[in-house]
Symmetry: C2
Subunit: 331 residues, 2 copies
């Protein structure tokens, strides 16, 4: 199929002349998006949320979008749906209107949403002459991009006759106006650990292997999570994915009594936890997130960072320190 090359004509749907050298319509969309408060962080959250909702870790234990076969696989129908979910979450996040025939109305322009977890976007022929909001997120590298592009024949790859969709050509990519070119996705902790220390993830999910029954298997896995992943923020999605059950956050709170005898506390967002985190130089978790740490009693002469709980001075346990029972903390 060949596309009709526009000759400085105004398309019948009234969008501004797309071949105007300045493309004021494209510029208006670009400015509107760049003007959105905190748009970089918000786009990152949009992709994180959409991916996490499709993975549905609380029900499936999945954290890796890229597994195609066997246990934990993500079906192709789910991958396809992810694009729709990104479209929905983006519209809600930025309060974008519904366009027709395109997805959105931004700054008076009809804009089509295109999302990919791969390296390119498939552009349907209906998008010709329209503006596309090109979104890409790679959960393996943690990178994301958002850009806009006016679709014209010369920004697309040459498709075979009858091809309904083409991708953006190399030349086309140079013409993308970037809204966020080097975005960083909010962390997918389990996927990152799977890459850097796969045995940790394996041990966490196997912690319940010998347990038969419902409910407490999740507790054993969450215990192992906080035993192994210390000093770092463990977010809500990670907790509910490891728990793989209703009310995974309760498993995190209950881990405190299980891990106390090993000297491990699980820092939450309620007092006095934030102060303990600050005094020990640890990140302070938000609601729904946690930071676990193994404590050791310090003597009065220690110059290490410390926190005093019930009159006892504690620091972060390091190799060689004695293990003590963790203090009970009412958070």
């Amino acid at each position: 199929m060949t596309y009709e090359a526009p000759l400085f004509t105004i398309p019948s749907d009234g969008t501004p002349c797309p071949d105007h050298p300045d493309d004021p319509g494209l510029t208006a969309v670009e400015k509107w998006l760049l003007d959105q408060r905190d748009h970089r962080r918000r786009f990152g959250q949009v992709f994180r949320r959409a991916i996490d909702e499709v993975l549905d870790g609380q029900r499936t234990g999945r954290y890796d979008l890229y597994i195609k076969e066997g246990l934990g696989r993500v079906e192709s129908t789910e991958k396809t749906y992810l694009g729709t979910k990104v479209e929905i979450v983006t519209r809600a996040e930025f309060d974008l209107g519904y366009g027709s025939p395109m997805d959105y109305v931004i700054a008076g322009q009809h804009v089509d949403a295109k999302f990919t977890v791969g390296g390119n976007w498939m552009i349907p022929k209906e998008a010709m002459h329209h503006i596309c909001l090109l979104m890409r997120a790679d959960d393996r590298t943690g990178a994301f991009q958002v850009g806009i592009l006016r679709i014209k024949p010369d920004v697309l790859t040459a498709g075979p006759n009858g091809d309904q969709k083409r991708s953006v050509s190399a030349a086309g990519k140079t013409r993308i106006r970037w809204i966020v070119q080097d975005g960083e996705l909010p962390d997918n902790l389990l996927l990152r650990l799977q890459k850097t220390e796969p045995e940790t993830v394996r041990d966490i999910f196997r912690a319940s292997d010998d347990y038969r029954g419902s409910g407490n298997g999740g507790q054993l896995r969450v215990n192992e999570l906080f035993r192994r992943v210390r000093g770092r923020v463990v977010d809500r999605t990670t907790v509910v994915t490891v728990a793989t059950q209703h009310d995974g956050l309760k498993r995190a709170r209950d881990a405190r009594k299980h891990l106390g005898p090993e000297g491990i506390i699980v820092i939450g967002h309620l007092k006095p936890y934030p102060q303990i985190a600050e005094q020990l130089g640890l990140p302070v978790p938000e609601k729904g997130s946690f930071v676990s740490v193994k404590l050791t009693e310090l003597d009065e002469h220690s110059t290490r960072r410390s926190t005093v709980i019930d009159g006892v001075r504690y620091g972060i346990w390091a190799e060689g320190d004695p293990t003590c029972e963790a203090p009970g903390i009412k958070g």
Copy 2:
């Protein structure tokens, strides 16, 4: 494509002989499912949750799975994905294992999940000789069914050559062993209202039409919801769909101060609300649900159902009663 008719042979994957007149494998799955505590209610919740998650009313304002075009439409990718979501939610709800190549392992049998919102199920040829868990939910009628069927050529429609999927034949349907044949889905309040009093739904969603801005538009719609839909449980999904914003439940709580001057109270789950609901003969809402009611002051001789708030006796307002300001209630 013609399927090979089994001749009392045991399939190579080791499932019990499917043509045994008693089909002990099928009977084992049937018994297991029927033995699940409260399975009728739980299957209904599974379908309600899966449908509601795909509609994503909080972000989209959608409540009708069957709209195919225009504003509020549900894309075909979303419809396809709904089957996957039902499979996931069912597995999580009943703690079913992962089968291979089929979806589940139930009572030692490999079982494939098939869901439809239509009148029949598409059966892939890979399911031949296997047991299918056939699930159907119709949000328009509120009906759902769950049954199991051993797939054999004689339970399927005759497909054209090369057809990869066939549906269950009329004769096949008579051989379904029903787990729940006459299930009732938890209510989709907005969809039901759309059928019985469409002007109410229209007015609720139009309540913010003249308002421009973010945030309070949702408040205006939620106010109209509780103004118009009184004396009935308004569930969480309905509230967040009408609000179409983050924290829709706060809009429900805030509706109290907006509707107080009109004599309307919004009954929640916290004290003293449950008692008020009981005294007035209204349903008592669970957490996240609400019941609104317009009150009128009753004199001491009234024999109508009543509740006393701050020393004043109130009943449910009816045509002809004076309108009073609603009492302030700390719930």
